[in-house]
């Protein structure tokens, strides 16, 4: 029986792009289905009834949801070009930082870029203080990642691994948020290693081919969240 691999995703989502990056790295052919998140398809709701979210990978009719869970499934199913190390301690480390990025970094970055603009009008001074706090928090979080990278070319070592793929939000989307909102976060003076890594990351073929067009993405976020938190 021919193998069937489907990916339900959204063009601008770093989470569904992760799945595509991993499949591309391993040379796995798949069919991509673009979801309109304002009008979710019956298939998506059938394959992910619990969260009703993208991405979902469907392998021979069986669905897997949650991007990091999908990445591990891909690695265990298709053994070429492994994205997780063999050593259990290194694996635990990669999982820890992937979780760190998803649970801490993204929301902090959003807050720094657009936080005080959401919701009701706030007094300018209070918004300024909140904004500075948020920027400081992002800086601390990025410092942890900078330290974790050390002298490695990629988080995965000599080749791109699960953590690099999970860090696509930092490697590409962060730059987009910065430009869309006018807030500078990943500065070269403070984060030279991370900046170098980001440059290398987006040049890897399997990654490059799966990055949404930058201008389109910037326009989308500007449209959705406004002009951002940059000091006016």
């Amino acid at each position: 029986m021919a193998e069937e691999v489907l990916v339900f995703g959204a063009w601008g989502s770093p989470f569904s792009r992760r799945v595509e990056m991993a499949l591309k790295l391993k040379g796995i052919e798949y069919k991509y289905i673009e979801e309109d998140l304002t009008n979710k398809s019956p298939s998506l709701l059938k394959y992910n009834p619990v969260h009703k979210k993208i991405p979902v990978l469907v392998h021979n009719g069986k669905p897997v949801a949650e991007s990091l869970v999908i990445l591990e499934y891909i690695d265990e199913t298709w053994k070429d070009h492994p994205i997780l190390p063999k050593d259990p301690y290194e694996r635990a480390n990669a999982r820890f930082w992937a979780k760190f990025i998803d649970e801490k970094c993204l929301s902090a970055i959003f807050k720094a870029c657009w936080g005080a603009c959401w919701g009701e009008e706030k007094e300018h001074e209070k918004a300024e203080i909140e904004h500075e706090k948020a920027v400081k928090e992002v800086s601390e979080l990025l410092q942890f990642l900078e330290n974790e990278l050390k002298e490695k070319r990629y988080f995965g070592g000599e080749t791109v691994g699960l953590l690099d793929i999970a860090a696509n939000t930092i490697g590409y989307w962060l730059g987009v948020f910065e430009e869309a909102s006018g807030v500078e976060l990943l500065t070269r003076e403070k984060f030279s290693k991370l900046c170098n890594w980001a440059n290398e990351f987006v040049c890897v073929t399997a990654i490059k081919e799966n990055l949404p067009p930058r201008d389109k993405l910037i326009a989308y976020f500007r449209n959705r969240f406004g002009a951002g938190n940059a000091s006016k």
């Binding site: 619990v50 392998h59 069986k62 897997v64 949801a65 949650e66 990091l68 869970v69 999908i70 591990e72 499934y73 265990e76 199913t77 259990p88 301690y89 694996r91 635990a92 999982r95 820890f96 979780k99 760190f100 942890f144």
Partner: protein
């Protein structure tokens, strides 16, 4: 040598309990260190500088953090007995999905039940039962989430059972009436020695929770 494996933990933490169960399942001897979360030890801050939280497993001097990551690490290192995750990749993905669901949903809702009042608490209670009912559907007629044997998802969720009595009193709810299958499943898990000896007494947890609630709510 118990010194090889050290667990930094806090007795009522449902996350720490997960690690205790995993270690017990594998028969691993370890040194348990109780942390005072209001006065965290230098060791904890050194071993988990990022989150400064328990549990932390220290294996031969190297720290592993985040309860489910620790459990997977334990399963991979001590892989000669009592597997916690299934061997089939698809089953493993399902197990990871549901443990992630427990992490993302159960804790948040249960906090609202235990630590809030009024409308927020009512919303929390509704959410809590929706989540438990989703888990009940997933459990189905199986004895455990893992199927015939206790596994990763069971381990990730059973630790919340030690807090059920506290939620019931503080939230004025009856979990058994709403979700009898969950209670039946929990009692089945508690027949395992590794689980029974890793979960604290429900009354003690209630006393702790009641004190915590006082800090969040003035009544």
């Amino acid at each position: 040598m118990a010194k090889e494996v050290v667990l930094l933990d806090f007795w009522p933490s449902m996350f720490g309990m997960r690690v205790r169960i995993a270690l017990a399942e594998k028969g691993i001897k370890y040194e348990y260190k109780e942390e005072d979360l209001k006065n965290k030890s230098p060791l904890l801050l050194e071993m988990n500088p990022i989150n400064k939280q328990i549990p932390v497993l220290i294996h031969n001097g190297k720290p592993v953090c985040e309860s489910l990551i620790i459990v997977q690490y334990i399963d991979e290192v001590w892989n000669d007995k009592s597997p916690l995750l299934p061997s089939d990749p698809y089953q493993r993905a399902q197990a990871r999905f549901w443990a992630d669901f427990v992490d993302k949903k159960v804790y948040g809702a249960s906090r609202k039940v235990g630590s809030t009042t009024g409308e927020e608490q009512e919303a929390g209670k509704k959410e809590f039962f929706e989540i438990l009912k989703t888990l009940e559907v997933e459990l189905g007629d199986k004895p455990y989430f893992g199927g015939e044997t206790f596994g990763y998802v069971d381990l990730s969720f059973i630790t919340f059972y030690s807090w059920f009595h506290a939620y019931e009193v503080l939230g004025n709810i009856n979990i058994g009436a709403e979700c009898p299958k969950i209670i039946a499943w929990a009692k089945r898990c508690l027949q395992k020695e590794s689980v029974a000896k890793s979960l604290p007494d429900q009354k003690k947890v209630y006393e702790f929770a009641a004190q915590m609630r006082k800090r969040f709510v003035s009544e």
